[in-house]
């Protein structure tokens, strides 16, 4: 069975808690909080004013640049405030606050569950619709999807790779989405193939989801050019670069875009959103979130409108378990530990909520590096984490840069595997931030000289 070629680790997948739990809709909130940054790139610009009445699907904020995304209203009601807001990690930003009244949708949105198979739009119209719907990559990175569909001049997409890997432990939302909305995903794939002008699509699914592999295989059987590729279980297979390597055996060169290999990767949840936007005129206003953990009462997969306070989602799953030490937004490998839940809404970036018991929440004390080399074996980018950590700690930025720190994808394999519990990635992130700043400065200086 295929997988990526360098490094990787095997964490317990712990998907048994929420796997196969049917997608359950979360009730509407009284007040919705809509952050203006729910994607990578420039913040969206609010286009509504305080006091405005909005319907579900109406544009609230438009993309603030080329790499940015629209934000459409997930609820109907009155805008009460546009202003400062702080997320659960303490980062400041802007948000639109809406008092929810009823559930009134824009009339053009098709809310029936009927499948809409035919798509007669041309590629440009498809991409425009995706951009208008504010669709971003729902696998975690939140890169605006329409930007990915417009390769830079000279580059040509050859294959669409569909990410059904869900390699993060605990998370099951993509798995359940494939089981319940596989047909829509297949239609979405055909739409994207048309938009990209490619004849081939590969759906990569890890082998711990055998039912999803079989289900998607059955659905894809009669569809020309779409194949399902079962992949051997290994983290971080859902990483864009690792998945391209696993599916077509090509590696994105350092510093280059994935399109260099001829592949465009989109997550199954993103593709479901594409189907809804193009075929049903429904913008991206909700997503399936996994709420899970060893001690949570009702772990499951919840369909949540953006803006819904996560407190409300947690309540649906039975409330915060008593022995909770950490609450993680996302999966345990790359998700971020939240400080609190107040004023934190569901949004495009939040794929799940994971409650870790207190006993699993405290890092053991770091010991001396024993130079075992396990971090080097584990690094899926072929880097030397032990060395990058030490150099970052000593602020040797030139060396950090020379040792390819910018290739680091933040996957956490090094820390996961380190027997001495060293905070490798903490320091490497610091090195990456510093080198990134140095590179930007250098580029700005070079550009200034050119002028």
């Amino acid at each position: 069975m295929k997988t990526f070629r360098i490094g990787g680790v095997h964490p317990h997948d712990n998907k048994q808690f929420s796997a196969h739990q049917p997608i359950t809709e979360c009730p509407l909130p009284k007040q919705a909080i809509i952050p203006l940054v729910q994607h990578i790139g420039a913040p969206a610009q609010a286009v509504v004013e305080v006091g405005a009445k909005v319907k579900v699907g109406e544009l609230l904020a438009k993309a603030g640049g080329f790499v940015s995304a629209n934000i459409c209203s997930p609820v109907s009601g009155t805008v009460t405030k546009i202003g400062d807001w702080t997320d659960a990690w303490g980062a400041p930003g802007q948000a639109i606050f809406i008092d929810v009244q009823g559930d009134e949708w824009l009339p053009e949105i098709d809310r029936t569950p009927d499948l809409a198979r035919q798509c007669t739009l041309d590629p440009k119209a498809i991409i425009d619709k995706i951009a208008a719907a504010g669709i971003v990559g729902l696998g975690g990175a939140c890169f605006p999807t329409h930007v990915k569909l417009m390769p830079p001049p000279g580059k040509k997409a050859e294959v669409l790779i569909v990410n059904g890997v869900e390699c993060e432990p605990y998370l099951t939302c993509d798995h359940q989405l494939m089981m319940e909305h596989g047909e829509e995903i297949i239609i979405g794939i055909q739409i994207l193939m048309k938009a990209l002008g490619v004849q081939r699509a590969i759906i990569g699914i890890e082998n711990n989801k055998k039912d999803a592999i079989e289900h998607m295989q059955n659905l894809a059987q009669s569809k020309l050019g779409i194949e399902v590729l079962p992949l051997a279980l290994k983290y971080p297979q859902g990483g864009e670069k690792q998945l391209i390597d696993a599916c077509i055996g090509r590696q994105v060169p350092s510093g280059a875009l994935p399109i260099e290999t001829g592949a465009v990767v989109d997550n199954v949840a993103t593709i479901f959103a594409v189907y809804e936007a193009v075929q049903k005129n429904k913008p991206l206003i909700s997503r399936v979130m996994t709420v899970t953990g060893k001690n949570i009462a009702k772990p499951g997969n919840y369909l949540v409108r953006f803006g819904t306070p996560i407190d409300q989602v947690i309540e649906m799953a039975g409330g915060v378990p008593e022995d909770t030490g950490k609450l993680i937004g996302g999966g345990p490998m790359m998700g971020r530990a939240m400080d609190h839940t107040e004023h934190m809404p569901a949004n495009k970036r939040l794929s799940g909520l994971l409650f870790l018991p207190e006993a699993e929440s405290i890092r053991p004390e770091a010991e001396n590096c024993i130079r075992c080399g396990k971090c080097v074996q584990a690094c899926p980018m072929g880097l030397e984490p032990y060395l990058l950590q030490r150099m970052s700690e000593l602020e040797m930025w030139d060396d950090v840069e020379k040792h390819n720190v910018m290739d680091c994808i933040d996957c956490g394999c090094c820390v996961f595997t380190c027997p001495a519990h060293r905070p490798l990635l903490d320091d490497i992130r610091k090195g990456k931030a510093k080198v990134g700043a140095i590179l930007r400065e250098r580029a700005a200086a070079a550009a200034a000289e050119k002028k």
Partner: protein, 332 residues
């Protein structure tokens, strides 16, 4: 407002620890140790006990009274492992106070002066052994015959190890067949030698256990064994062996005697003193294989594994400049 614990990702861990790795290596050494006790009797028990106690005691005393450390590190079991490995590299009949001197040198000089576990350049157990070899050459090269509990601890019947005969065979073309143990005995450990080096079978089993449990990788042991075997085979094909020693037998004796197995699976693979990358490990292993055969063929000592590993230990910082294959790098 309830506050949760926060820390950067990742939030789960493999469960691996320094202690677990040390414990698994100690476990992997046990089969060979059982054979040693069967072959050498009380001497094997006394030497190992003294060595382990002296190593752990030295680490405790040094960090408590010389380095004034608040936290003791003996719980990571690395000192226990060093003690066991040092004992494995000593003749079972050696005086207990010599063992203590070796242990003190291994821990106090070769490990703690550099800053403790993870910082040392040379394998502590081998540094201790080589110190003793230079300080007490007679005692260190007097090997007991393998006679189980009939071997008395201090005045055992002694004899030369097979390696001394092999050197004579290659260097002077002497007939040696009747002086060497049967290949089966060399493989199973019924021959003279250091406490833990004699049973190739038990050491291979322990080594495979370490590879299967991912404590070590195959690179170092395989490259050492392959280099030694190839060198021995070439010696045979070149017609340098006496009439009564076939090439196949010379290869087998070269692999099963003189601590090659112990060194390849347990000493050269020491995390701290071996390279970090796969290619580094392979070159490290080939280097050890070449140096050990050069010493065995032309050197003054019959046995060269300790020196070979220590010399290659010194090359590790250089070998660590070899980068792993980066993702997306052009492959040849």
């Amino acid at each position: 407002m309830s506050h949760f614990i926060t820390s950067p990702a990742p939030h789960v861990h493999s469960g691996d620890s320094v202690r677990r790795n040390m414990l698994l290596v100690i476990l992997a050494l046990l089969p060979a140790y059982v054979v040693s006790v069967i072959e050498f009797g009380y001497g094997a028990l006394i030497t190992a006990a003294v060595s382990v106690l002296a190593c752990v005691g030295t680490e405790w005393l040094v960090s408590r009274y010389i380095l004034n450390e608040q936290k003791q590190t003996i719980g990571d079991l690395s000192a226990v492992l060093t003690g066991l490995l040092l004992a494995f590299n000593l003749p079972s009949t050696i005086d207990w106070w010599i063992v203590v001197i070796g242990a003190v040198f291994a821990i106090a000089v070769a490990k703690m002066t550099y800053g403790g576990l993870g910082q040392n350049l040379f394998n502590p157990a081998l540094a201790g052994r080589v110190f003793l070899l230079i300080a007490y050459p007679a005692q260190m090269t007097t090997w007991p015959l393998a006679k189980g509990f009939e071997t008395s601890y201090v005045d055992a019947e002694t004899g030369a190890t097979p390696l001394a005969f092999l050197k004579q065979a290659v260097k002077d073309g002497q007939l040696v067949a009747d002086k060497l143990p049967a290949i089966k005995d060399a493989f199973l450990g019924a021959m003279g030698g250091s406490l833990g080096e004699v049973c190739a079978l038990a050491l291979i089993l322990g080594g495979l256990f370490l590879i299967c449990t991912r404590v070590i990788t195959w690179h170092i042991p395989v490259s050492i064994l392959a280099t030694v075997a190839l060198w021995a085979a070439v010696t045979g094909w070149a017609g340098l062996l006496p009439a009564d020693l076939t090439t196949a037998n010379y290869v087998a004796y070269s692999l099963c005697t003189g601590g090659i197995m112990l060194g390849a699976f347990f000493m050269a693979t020491d995390y701290v003193t071996s390279p970090m990358t796969a290619w580094g490990k392979i070159i490290f292993g080939i280097g050890i294989g070449i140096i050990v055969m050069v010493i065995r063929t032309w050197g003054a000592y019959p046995e060269g594994m300790s020196f070979a590993i220590l010399i290659m230990n010194a090359c590790v910082p250089l070998l660590n400049k070899l980068r792993p294959t980066r993702f997306g790098e052009k492959r040849k």
